[in-house]
Symmetry: C2
Subunit: 435 residues, 2 copies
């Protein structure tokens, strides 16, 4: 009497899938990609940009783990996607940060007609060389799907020989672990503000979706939303995000003089300033060193809502921001600091205790929210790793990122040295990049 009955139609239907698509929607991406895309579409639509996948954890030989045919199938599937009517309606009609019609009609029309451009895939030294080349507003939308696909194919490769029971225990343990983390966060009190920033390094789509539900259940409105547009739409929560290193990196690569290069990061934010206000005016100061950036920042930047700290020692970065605001006559208590670099609960608790009351504190919790399977399979085969997909060239010129951690620097060696000289970046404290 307790043998479960099988729904034959469901079973037959399931067997008809040729692949199990990882990314099933063009808005299964981070909200800031769409915001940046609109900005690029308006200001630099014809720039030719190359995005490239970079696995900073070289010990994980992705090309040995992931079948090339499966990877191509998944990437091809994404090339077949277009914005659905419901997705378009949600983007056009939704309120983001209290603002309606944040996406202009011309941009929406572009997005509705968009198909992602071709990719280039090769194997080399146990890694995949995966690159996307084309018009900036089109290729930039490959970043998140490419990362999500590689991350989930890697999860599937590790899980494929596990039995049903082992899988059940694995997810039970991962759920129990996340729930304990959320209970720790709950103790931080009613002023906590935290968002899911974990799309790019997620274990899988379904797992990210579960993590978001757990955050909703455990933290209520202290969980302010997710960077993932599809999940935000489905779960009826806020989509969260502003801008990223991509903008100053490409603007900088396009600079034709040292002075233009020095001004590039501010130029990005000047363009942003024209388009956005309020919660979307968040400074990301670290692309070429936060200290230099803030010291030379134009006056109007101090009026922005907050700063996102994404590399270097986060407490030092926050203290730097606070001193900067004070030096510019701003009250730090009115300012928002968003921590978003490699966070887990202990670090968030420490930062919250240190800065709560001095500034408005918010967290963008990424990899260790949506992909903490550390220690849960033999050989730690599901441990998260440091995979990025970056703009590496713009109109034929290499891009450079320095950040506040030399371990996170990208670009050709001589270009890095040139940028360091121009942005007056001296000795930096190296910090291990784990995720």
């Amino acid at each position: 009497m307790m043998i479960p009955t099988v729904d034959i139609a469901t079973r037959v239907y399931n067997h008809k899938w040729k692949i199990d698509p990882i990314v099933r929607s063009l808005i299964d991406t981070d909200f800031y990609k769409l915001l940046m895309c609109q900005s690029v579409f308006r200001n630099r639509p014809d720039t030719n940009v190359t995005f490239s996948l970079i696995n900073r954890s070289t010990s994980i030989r992705l090309a040995d783990l992931i079948d090339e045919g499966e990877l191509r199938e998944q990437l091809d599937y994404v090339r077949g996607l277009s914005l659905t009517r419901g997705e378009s309606t949600w983007l056009r009609g939704n309120t983001f940060y209290g603002k309606r019609q944040m996406f202009r009609p011309d941009f929406m029309e572009f997005l509705e007609n968009l198909r992602l451009p071709a990719y280039h895939l090769e194997k080399r030294d146990g890694q995949y060389e995966l690159t996307f080349e084309g018009k900036w507003p089109e290729v930039m939308l490959w970043e998140i799907p490419a990362l999500a696909i590689i991350m989930e194919l890697r999860s599937r490769a590790v899980l494929k020989d596990m039995g049903k029971f082992e899988l059940q225990v694995l997810y039970a343990r991962a759920m129990a672990r996340l729930w304990e983390k959320i209970q720790e966060l709950d103790k931080l009190g009613s002023d906590l503000r935290i968002a899911d920033f974990g799309t790019r390094r997620r274990h899988s789509f379904l797992w990210q979706d579960w993590c978001v539900q757990a955050m909703i259940e455990g933290l209520g409105d202290r969980f302010i939303g997710t960077s993932n547009c599809l999940i935000a739409m489905r779960r009826d929560i806020e989509a969260i995000g502003t801008n990223a290193h991509e903008l100053p990196m490409v603007y900088a690569a396009l600079a034709t003089s040292e002075n233009e290069l020095r001004q590039a990061p501010y130029r990005v934010l000047a363009d942003w300033h024209e388009e956005h206000d309020g919660n979307l005016r968040i400074i990301l100061p670290d692309t070429y060193g936060s200290a230099h950036f803030l010291e030379h920042a134009p006056g109007w930047l101090a009026g922005w809502t907050g700063i996102r700290i994404d590399s270097g020692d986060p407490a030092e970065g926050a203290e730097l921001a606070i001193r900067w605001w004070q030096s510019r006559g701003e009250d730090p208590r009115e300012k928002l600091i968003i921590f978003s670099d490699g966070l887990d609960v202990a670090k968030m608790a420490e930062l919250f205790q240190q800065f709560h009351g001095r500034v408005k504190v918010s967290f963008g919790w990424g990899t260790l929210l949506t992909n903490d399977f550390r220690g849960l399979v033999p050989g730690d085969g599901l441990a998260p790793f440091s995979l990025v997909c970056k703009a590496v060239a713009a109109d034929g010129r290499p891009t450079v990122k320095l950040s506040d951690n030399p371990e996170k620097a990208t670009g050709p060696k001589d270009e890095i040295e040139r940028y360091k000289r121009i942005f007056e970046v001296g000795a930096q404290k190296a910090m291990k990049v784990e995720v």
Copy 2:
């Protein structure tokens, strides 16, 4: 596209259930109840016995937690059960401990025609008084279903206001906890032998079934089986069990002289000796004190396969047994000691280290296998508690149990004193009864 489709027929069918039965089979009971029932059916079929539910954890006010109507529904449902054809075939045809046809045809016929007798239920002081009175071989089969029903109704009462997500997290945490315990047990090596003895105090039927699967997955053939006949049948594993205190308690109550009373525990095992051999010859010495029992035991008992230690300090009990075997010229290394009292992993590891190699060690893991939800809900409302269902009278005379722990003694005070005198039980070490 990812909204799960509902199977309408399943949904409608599920809504037709008037109740969700907790005990759905007469063999959802401990194997030793059937073995003892056969023995009683042969040797003492006309004895009139009263079984009574006793909640030793009086702080848990069961009558406030559990609705009387629901309890009656569940008990009534069990009264409607009879042995199915498949269950009968399994009992008749199976091999238990390598022996075929352990259940005699006359007993099988009795069992096939059995319906459980009436129950008597009253509320008193926040507790239920639940008693079963009738012919011993019939009423004795109420013990396990009655306990399982009360335990699961209590779980349901605590869980009923929890949302779907909370429940998912709860079970994920319980699964993760059990799996960690099993991994600890796995470290004890290849000589570990352990069985599920957790039917009577289980969180629920489905949870016990999951726990058994976890033990199979995690320990392979070191998990030697389950006391639960239904789960043994469904999961195709060994049904485990021998005999319990019920036999000497009733035999003792029926004794008409002090000498007969003193001999009652041996009389039980003499009857058992005639019927069973090998692994079923397990001494349970503690009903009226293990030391006195072993000291005065007849010679043939030393030839039995092993001893089950179910009260008192388990290490002391095992040392006592080892000395006893040695004093009777037996080699303890050929003997089996089954520990079965309030075990959890740390205690099992300790006992295993202490006795492995000196005797054959086996564990009957009960409540903390199938009902460890400690600390998982607010107010610890799912913590296991000490509920028993005991034979309290036989042919109008009260039963007595002393055990090796005065906290576990049952019976009228003056009778306990009389038994203590007759069985020469002096001072005993009190140990807290947790489960």
